[in-house]
C-alpha cells in the first residue's frame, strides 16, 4: 500500500495590473493531499475521497465534483491516452485544507496542484510539471467556472508565472527578486470568484487598456531587474481593482495602511477579499501586515484577519 503526500502553497493571481495573465506562489500556507494506492478498484471510479479536513464541510465529496479528485481523474485519463499508462487500481484521497475558501489565495488551485504532484509521483512521474498545469487549470473551471491559469500555474511551477497566451497555453516562469517579500492578509469574509468576475466590464476604454499594459511591461521589467521601486510603481490596476474594491470592506484604508508602513505596493489578491503587499525586506513586510490587520479591525469594518509574510516560492508544488 503506497502512500504519497503532496503539498502546494497559496498563490496570488492578477498581481494588480496582470489581470488573468500573472500570478505567483508564496511558501506558506498550503494544502496537503495524501494519496494512497489500493490494488483493487472500488466502484466504477478510480478515485475516491476518504476525507476532507479544514473546509468546515463545504467541499463536495463526490470525486467528479471535488477539484482535487477531479484533476486526478483528468490526469489518469491523460496518461492512459497519451502515455500508455493504463491504471487499473484505485486511489484514495485525503485532503487537508489549510487555505481558506473563497479567499483570493488560490485555494482550489493549491488543492489541485498538491493532488497532481502526488498522483504523478504515485504513478512513476509520467508527466512533466508543465503537463500537470493543464489539469490544474481544468480544475479551476470546476471550482469557479473560469479556466484561468494565474493561480494554477504558479501553484504547480512556483515563482511568478506569466501567461502569454491561453490558446495555445504559453507560460513563462519569472524567478523572483531575492529580497521581495509578500504580505498576505485574509479578512474573515468570503468573496466568491464567480461573483467577483461578474462585476467586471466586458469592454474597457482603449486608454485604460494602454495604462494597464504599460504597467504590466514595467512590472515584468522590475521583477527581472530586481528594481523594487519600479515594482512598486507598477502595482497599479485600473481595470479590476476599481470594480472589486467596493466588494472588500475597508479596502482603501487597508491598502493605504500598507503603503504608509513602507510597502512597495498593495492590491487585491486574485479576486479578493484577501490583499497582498510587496516589500523589499521581511521587517517592512511584517510592519505592513500589522498595519493592514489593524486597518481591518477599525470600527468601520471590524474584521478579524489572518496574516502571512513569505518570500516568493521558487519550487512550486512538491512531495512532502
Amino acid at each position: 500500500m503506497k502512500t504519497v503526500k503532496g503539498f502546494a502553497s497559496a498563490t496570488v493571481g492578477n498581481v494588480a495590473c496582470g489581470f488573468d495573465v500573472l500570478g505567483f506562489a508564496i511558501t506558506e500556507p498550503g494544502d496537503e493531499v495524501t494519496l494512497t494506492l489500493l490494488d483493487e478498484r472500488k466502484k466504477d471510479c478510480p478515485v475516491s475521497i476518504a476525507s476532507i479536513t479544514g473546509d468546515g464541510g463545504a467541499l463536495p465529496l463526490d470525486p467528479k465534483k471535488n477539484t482535487s479528485s477531479f484533476v486526478v481523474l483528468k490526469f489518469l485519463e491523460y496518461i492512459r491516452t497519451h502515455k500508455g499508462v493504463d491504471f487499473s487500481g484505485h486511489i484514495s484521497l485525503e485532503l487537508k485544507k489549510n487555505l481558506p475558501l473563497s479567499s483570493g489565495m488560490g485555494s482550489s488551485a493549491a488543492s489541485a496542484a498538491a493532488a497532481l504532484v502526488a498522483a504523478n509521483e504515485l504513478l512513476g512521474q509520467p508527466c512533466t510539471k508543465m503537463e500537470l498545469v493543464h489539469f490544474a487549470i481544468e480544475g479551476e473551471r470546476v471550482a469557479c467556472g473560469s479556466a484561468h491559469a494565474d493561480n494554477a500555474a504558479p501553484a504547480i511551477l512556483g515563482n511568478f508565472v506569466l501567461i502569454r497566451s491561453y490558446t495555445p497555453l504559453d507560460l513563462i516562469t519569472i524567478p523572483p527578486p531575492k529580497d521581495l517579500f509578500c504580505t498576505l492578509v485574509h479578512p474573515h469574509t468570503e468573496l466568491r470568484t464567480s461573483f467577483a468576475r461578474s462585476v467586471l466590464p466586458r469592454a474597457i476604454p482603449l486608454k485604460t487598456a494602454i495604462q494597464q499594459w504599460g504597467n504590466v511591461g514595467a512590472l515584468i521589467t522590475g521583477l527581472l531587474t530586481s528594481d523594487y521601486e519600479l515594482i512598486g510603481r507598477s502595482l497599479v490596476d485600473v481595470v479590476a481593482e476599481p470594480k472589486r474594491a467596493p466588494l472588500i470592506p475597508g479596502f482603501f484604508d487597508v491598502k493605504q495602511a500598507a503603503l504608509d508602513a513602507g510597502a512597495l505596493g498593495c492590491s487585491i489578491a486574485g479576486s479578493g477579499p484577501s490583499l497582498f503587499a510587496f516589500s523589499s525586506s521581511e521587517k517592512t513586510a511584517r510592519e505592513a501586515g500589522n498595519a493592514m490587520q489593524q486597518a481591518f479591525l477599525s470600527p468601520k469594518t471590524n474584521l478579524d484577519s489572518d496574516m502571512w509574510v513569505s518570500r516568493i516560492c521558487s519550487e512550486g508544488a512538491k512531495i512532502l
Copy 2:
C-alpha cells in the same frame, strides 16, 4: 558664430503588442539638424528656419509650426523658467530630412530629437536627455495631434523605451538583446498618423486587452532575457494591427513573406505604412527584407519600397 549638428535616427513605435507604450530606435537612417547661434535676435522669435531639405517642400517654415523649431522654442522657454538661462540671441535652424514623412518611422520625432540635442549642446547642456524627452513629446502633438512618446522617447534615449505612465511621465529604458536585428521596409505610399489613429476603437473587449497585456509582458521578458523565440511569439497585436492592416496595401502578404524568410516576427511600424521585422541574425534580417520588398512588388500591390537593416541603436540622439 557657433554651429552644432544633431542627429537622431528612425524609431519604431508600438512594436506590435506595445501600442502607445513601447518603441525602439534603430541606427539609420536619421534626420540632421544644424543649429547656428547668432548674436542678435532677428524679429520677435528666437528661432528661425534657414532651410529644409529632403521634405519635398511639405514641411512648414514657420518656426512655431515646424516640429523641429517648435521643440527648440519649448526648450528655450523651459531653460529660462527652470534653469535661469535667459537666452537673448538667435538660433538659425537647418533641417536635413532623411526620413520619409508619414511613414511610421518616427520622422517627426527624429527631427525634434536632433534639434533638441543640438540646442542643448549649443547652450551648454542645461538639460538632461530625460528632460529633452518632454519637449520631443510636445513636438509630436504639433506634428500629428497626439502627444505620444513611443517615438519621441527612443529617438532621444535610444534602446527600447517602455512608457509605464504618461502622467507623470515614467520611462523605462530596456537595452536590446545583442543579436536582435530590425528590418524596416517603407513602401512608397503615405499614411497619416492622425488618420491611422482615427480607425482605432475607443473601447476594446476585456478579453482582447488581456491577450495584449499578456504579450506585452512576454515581449519585455524576451527582450530582457535575450529569448529570441519568445520575442517572436510575443509580436502579436490584437488591437491596432487588425484595424490598420487594411490601410496598408499587401500587409498580410508582406508580413507572411518576412516570417517565411525566417524573421522572428513582423508588424506595422508605428501607425504604418512601414513594416518592421525582428530577426536574430543580420543575414536573416536581410533575407526577410528582400522577401518583404518582393511581396510589395507583387502585381496586387506593385509598390516600390526602401529597406534598412539595423541593430537597435543604444545611444539615442547625438551630436555629429
